[in-house]
Symmetry: C2
Subunit: 341 residues, 2 copies
DNA sequence: GATCGCCCCGACAACGCTGTCAAGATGACA
DNA sequence: TGTCATCTTGACAGCGTTGTCGGGGCGATC
């Protein structure tokens, strides 16, 4: 019956437990932390008091004293996006294995919000930070990192500082997707990707260009759209690519949001160019045709990043590491529609 | 140039800043907190020192002193699941509006893990907790709630305690989905849902039964499967329903995982019964046929729960509230396949 | 010139916990 | 009986911050 609140308001503290059990504060601390050197009967009395008062140790105070907070922060673009939520889950699992709790925050791709969140986590003295950057200048983290906070960047590298990063081989990935379309016979291939200001979008566009150039294929102006994916923009982009004298026969999409919006717009418009997308997504295999994708493994990215972080926290020194993960071309059919089909 | 670490190791504290600026500790505190009563020149000197030392206030210590932690915890089943990640995002947004940070943890539907996570958050003295329950007994939270911690349960009610809850009208929702199939002419309708131990699964099955009974339709043993959705089980279930002398012509799925696995298995097996699912999912509209669903709005659930939580934190008293949100039947075609089609 | 009030400023305690250290109790042994 | 080692226990300081309070400087007022 933990309803009797000692000392007016608030929660019982070790002091309250000590008073209730008739022992010293430190003895309670020892019992709570399973330290040796407490007589069994006294320990039992303390445990009873803990139960009766509903005492729970205040980790905030403990961590202030010990210096370790046993928590890490994760700053990503949008926890509501399946790609990031899969990544987040992997980070959480690794953190849990190491006894750490996880702070999460979404930056919405806004540099200011990324910084605000990161610094808020730093003020809580997280042991480490995993960041999917929205900003291009991370010098604001230097004091924290000098003070021993670990940081690992994912999906995009840190800006203006040396730091660990877990990246995808975007150029090779995009090249493989476009090459797949080319080898299926396509010659007029459009590109729909995110704004060119975004690191991954830039590299994937580069991969698209490389692949086209290498095959001696021209890239016409209206075939390329680089903008944050939203329905109206995608619709306009597709209208431009599919209309005119030399319509594209295939579209390469730079990320899963662009892919999904493209498919939706194509279904609405009744058009059927070949489509290959960067990033896999659930149900890609059940669409008609099934969608061929250049897949990243978000869970692996999260796991690798978190493991790197905890190795740093365990004391691993050395220069900043840069891990680059491969993509996988998953051929499902949507790239192989014959031109004009 | 924040590279000079004062006092050997660790981060600079207000004490260090005070020494560096030649003022008292308390003056630094005043400057950091924008309190009035500091001469402009002294304040400027303090700010310079803060900059030079790379000082950042330790919120852990601050919160220990002030008692408020400005953080809330979210315990859900799996942050990697799009349904929960959408919910999570809504919670995060509301928390951010109230200046709170968010701890997240996945219980994997394991009661022990839910309790462990919740209590870990409590030990960090979160101001409030939003829980998607895996456990059926939440008395372990009583001491915390007595001490003033707010808690809101989502998707399923709390067990053995009175607490705020934000729920979906599962029975009515399931009834509407099954009724839709019946009105399309189906008479032999199967049910594939999660284990009967799960609150929502129980209610949705109830809705299925109600709807069938009301229409005077029989429910045969092999038509009902209640188990955690995984591919092999779903495959067996479907084989049972679709084989035999009186195969079902339609399947009602109790949650989105079951729906997706069902669709995948049906595609593999080449069968085409009508399908209606509980929970909407991305691309449901792009499948052939497009999938009719009974939609919940996870973002709304998260928002409503978080707003309720913060109202409690703002001091709103009164008995436990129980908010029940309606579902929406989104007709897309997959329910209307004529029997035998 | 004495008094008052205001504004700055800093000393100090406290938040709840853990690390350090020394004191008391107990039993073994010479 | 005295000495020593061992075990148990508690007093105390301190983690980094904020709330309280009182002191000193200064201009205004009588």
């Amino acid at each position: 019956m933990p309803s009797q609140l000692p000392r007016g308001r608030g929660r019982p503290t070790m002091k309250d437990v000590a008073a209730h059990a008739g022992v010293a504060l430190k003895t309670v601390s020892r019992v709570v932390n399973d330290e040796p050197g407490v007589a069994p009967d006294k320990a039992a009395r303390v445990r009873t008091s803990i139960e009766e008062l509903g005492f729970r140790r205040n980790d905030g105070a403990r961590l202030l004293r010990t210096g370790q907070t046993a928590s890490v922060g994760l700053v990503l673009e949008d926890i509501g996006d399946p790609f990031y939520s899969a990544l987040s889950r992997a980070v959480e699992d690794v953190a849990h294995q190491h006894g750490s709790l996880l702070f999460t925050g979404s930056s919405d791709e806004r540099p200011g919000r990324e910084q605000q969140l990161s610094l808020a986590f730093c003020a809580r003295r997280v042991d480490g930070l995993i960041i999917i950057p929205a900003a291009s200048d991370h010098r604001y983290l230097l004091p924290e990192m000098d003070a021993g906070m670990a940081a690992v960047f994912v999906d995009r590298p840190a800006g203006m500082i040396e730091a660990d990063a877990v990246l995808t081989d975007n150029i090779t990935g995009a090249r493989s997707g476009v090459a797949h379309l080319i080898s299926a016979g396509h010659r007029r291939i459009g590109y729909i990707g995110d704004a060119a200001g975004i690191y991954t979008a830039r590299l994937r566009y580069r991969g698209y260009l490389d692949s086209m150039t290498e095959a001696g294929l021209p890239v016409s102006e209206p075939w390329v759209v680089q903008a944050p994916p939203e329905p109206a923009g995608i619709a306009r982009a597709l209208a431009g690519m599919l209309g005119g004298p030399a319509p594209v026969t295939a579209v390469f999409c730079g990320n899963n949001r662009a892919t999904v919006l493209t498919l939706r717009e194509l279904a609405r418009a009744g058009a059927r160019p070949a489509v290959v997308g960067f990033d896999d997504f659930e149900l890609a295999d059940l669409l008609t045709p099934a969608i061929t994708v250049v897949a990243q493994d978000p869970a692996q990215m999260g796991r690798v990043a978190a493991e790197l972080l905890f190795r740093r926290l365990a004391g691993e020194h050395g220069p900043a590491r840069r891990v680059e993960l491969p993509t996988q071309l998953i051929v499902r059919g949507s790239g192989e529609i014959p031109p004009g089909g």
